[in-house]
């Protein structure tokens, strides 16, 4: 890819990132929040790929693999927590988690 297009790719990644961020902030359902986090991670991954492509190096793709791996691991743990949350409160609404405050 030409270097002039890297800016475009980065802007795309940035927009995707912001969409994910807004999604995390707006959503009340824990599952959807996790999906939004995945969107943010993938946006970062996209940025990596774009940068790697601009430099003609494989590092970008390797980092993206790492990002996917991390996403998977986080989701695994996150789903476990979601299940437990559901078992306890019978819903996955995060707004009900406000016992710890002050």
């Amino acid at each position: 890819m030409d270097s002039q297009y890297i800016d475009h790719a980065m802007v795309l990644a940035g927009i995707l990132f912001c969409l994910g961020l807004v999604g995390v902030m707006v959503r009340r359902n824990l599952l959807f929040m996790m999906i939004s986090i995945e969107v943010m991670l993938n946006a970062a991954g996209l940025a990596f790929i774009a940068a790697g492509s601009a430099w003609g190096q494989p590092e970008g793709q390797i980092m993206f693999l790492a990002v996917i791996t991390l996403g998977a691991a986080e989701v695994a743990v996150g789903l476990g927590l979601t299940l437990l949350l559901f078992r306890h409160h019978n819903s996955v609404n995060v707004d009900q988690l406000n016992q710890l405050r002050g």
Binding site: L21, V24, M25, V26, R28, D95, N98, R101, G102
Partner: protein, 609 residues
């Protein structure tokens, strides 16, 4: 000299053992550890003294233990310094200290907090030893604060009675005033000389300071303020009589033999700085003189046996300050040692009497005890004789030396001598008043002498030492400057010996023969009240400082403009509440905060571009 570190370490180990074994060890074990650690420190002192004397008694040794922290040119380490002066102090602290601990192990036997008592006492001895052995002023200050802390803990030992707590707090706060001045003096000293290492300071001070200039005078004055607070001299003396609320062995150890002499030690240790400020030395002598006279007069009116001894201690330390001021450095330290011996003896004897009289401390309820309590009686006689400086007791040698040196001082010498002699007269009067009122006359109560092998032997040993110590020469001559030379006219010596005898005679007439009753101040109520309350210092401080403060506080209580601290507190509470509101526990709010903060950080970073 490598065994020097054992001396402060042994009582510290004793303290730790007693703290860790709290609730688990019996009284006998506590007694063994408590007394044993100080006794072992005494043995090590003897060993060190052997080494010291075999090397010629003129050397000084500096043992570096380990570095603590440093900043720029300031290097503070845990190091010990031994010379004639610190060795003399070591004798006093470990020697008299172990005897007092031995006595205390019997005195406090009935007390439920036996282990705690010895833990505090050991910590105190460790701190005091650190103070005298320190080779730099920061470590000395650490020991200084340590003894202040232990004094607080021990005065308020019986903390169930709030009056004891009040006395302890008063002691701490009053000495704190002195300690702050001391700390400022240290800062200034470091700024001037660039080091806080004692041997270096002693070497640099004569070179760097101009005699009589502002800087050494200021530094010496601040150091003096610290010494005045710790040694209970005017004007920071009000805490010592109230400190008698603690157990008697505490009064003997801390408020007679060791802690209150820390001020004298400090001035002797930093004598080079004081020599560069002769005005301050004159002030030292005057403070000593006034304290000596005022507390002597006050002691004449006290009715509590321990308070008489407390004022007497103040007075005798006044003598030591007096001696330092006139240039009799060696004599002052010598008097320190002899005073430690006989004052501890007097306090311990008083303790035996108090125990025998079922914790009665008012001397008006005592009388004629010399038949029932022979050993305390004779010990008290020996102690009083030393206090009054009758020949050939040790007290005689030390006090005579001070008076001789004071006459020699150019300028005010004879006037100061006159004050000292007047002080000797008053000392004789109050001490023998005490003796006669307690031991002579009709018996008013039935004493029961305390049983136990811990009571008599320490008293007897101290009595013997008080008698013979006069011939012992302390190795301080190589450390401290010599006193003014010359011999005063013989009539001065005769007067100096005669005055105490005159005082004893008057006391005898008034309190045994009950003649000359007009001399008893009983009739002069107002004057008596005034003298009884220590010349009204407490009252003056109350009117001058405390009452205006509390009045102002009362006035401001309803005032909205309450002063900066209150404002700060309210502000802190308000901000706390405000920020706590932000922690509302809502996850999405947290995320939003994170996002907005990220934007702000981004903005701040982009400012650079």
């Amino acid at each position: 000299m490598q065994q020097l570190w054992l001396i402060p370490c042994l009582p510290l180990v004793g303290f730790l053992l007693l703290v860790l074994g709290h609730g688990r060890c019996s009284r006998s074990v506590a007694r063994l550890v408590g007394v044993g650690s100080v006794a072992m420190a005494g043995l090590v002192t003897l060993w060190v003294a052997l080494d010291f004397y075999s090397a010629g008694a003129a050397q000084s040794y500096q043992v570096q233990l380990w570095p603590w922290f440093n900043a720029g040119t300031l290097e503070v380490s845990f190091g010990l310094y031994l010379d004639g002066l610190s060795l003399s102090m070591l004798f006093v602290i470990t020697g008299v200290g172990s005897l007092i601990h031995w006595y205390a192990s019997g005195y406090m036997w009935q007390d439920p907090d036996y282990q705690r008592f010895f833990a505090y006492m050991n910590l105190f001895v460790a701190a005091m030893l650190t103070l005298v052995l320190a080779d730099n002023l920061v470590l000395l200050f650490l020991g200084w604060e340590g003894v202040g802390l232990c004094s607080f803990l021990l005065i308020g030992f019986w903390h169930q009675d709030p009056a004891n707590g009040y006395a302890a707090r008063k002691a701490f706060v009053v000495t704190r005033v002195g300690d702050t001045a001391f700390a400022i003096g240290l800062f200034l000293l470091f700024r001037e000389l660039g080091t806080l290492d004692l041997p270096t300071i002693m070497a640099l001070a004569p070179e760097q300071f101009v005699m009589g200039a502002n800087r050494p005078t200021l530094i010496a004055a601040l150091l003096l303020a610290g010494a005045v607070g710790k040694s209970a001299q005017l004007p920071l003396h009000t805490w010592l009589p109230d400190a008698m609320a603690g157990p008697t062995p505490v009064s003997a150890l801390i408020h007679a033999a060791t802690m209150v002499t820390a001020g004298v030690y400090l001035i002797a240790r930093t004598h080079e700085v004081f020599l560069q400020a002769p005005d301050v030395l004159l002030v030292v002598a005057l403070i000593g003189l006034f304290t000596l006279l005022i507390s002597g007069f006050t002691a004449l009116n006290q009715t509590d046996i321990k308070r008489v001894l407390a004022y007497s201690t103040m007075s005798q330390i006044g003598y030591m300050f007096f001696a330092l001021g006139v240039g009799a450095w060696n004599e002052s330290v010598f008097h320190l040692m002899t005073h430690a011996l006989f004052k501890a003896l007097l306090f311990m004897t008083a303790g035996s009497i108090i125990l025998a009289m079922h914790h009665e401390q008012d001397i008006r309820s005592m009388g004629g005890l010399r038949r029932q309590l022979p050993v305390p009686f004779w010990c008290f006689v020996i102690g009083s004789a030393c206090l009054v400086a009758l020949p050939p007791t040790s007290g005689f040698f030390s006090k005579e030396a001070i008076l001789i040196a004071s006459w020699q001082l150019p300028g005010y010498g004879p006037w100061l001598w006159l004050g000292g002699v007047l002080g000797a007269f008053i000392t004789a009067m109050y001490s023998f008043r005490l003796l006669f009122m307690v031991f002579f006359g009709p018996q008013k109560a039935h004493p029961h002498e305390p049983k136990g092998w811990q009571f008599h032997p320490p008293l007897m040993i101290l009595g013997a030492l008080s008698l013979v110590a006069g011939w012992f020469v302390l190795p301080t001559a190589t450390v401290l400057p010599a006193s003014p030379a010359g011999h005063p006219p013989t009539w001065t010596i005769v007067v100096a010996i005669a005055m105490p005898l005159l005082g004893i005679g008057i006391a005898y007439k008034v309190y045994v023969r009950h003649q000359w009753q007009g001399l008893r101040f009983v009739q002069w109520q107002k004057l008596r009240q005034f003298l009884f309350q220590g010349w009204g210092f407490d009252g003056m401080y109350k009117r001058l400082l405390l009452t205006p403060f509390t009045t102002l506080a009362q006035v401001n209580r309803n005032d909205m403009i309450d002063g900066l601290p209150k404002l700060l507190i309210q502000l802190s509470r308000f901000l706390h509440g405000l920020f706590s509101q932000l922690q509302n526990g809502q996850l999405r709010f947290y995320i939003a905060t994170l996002a907005s903060a990220a934007i702000i950080v981004l903005a701040l970073a982009l400012k650079v571009l």
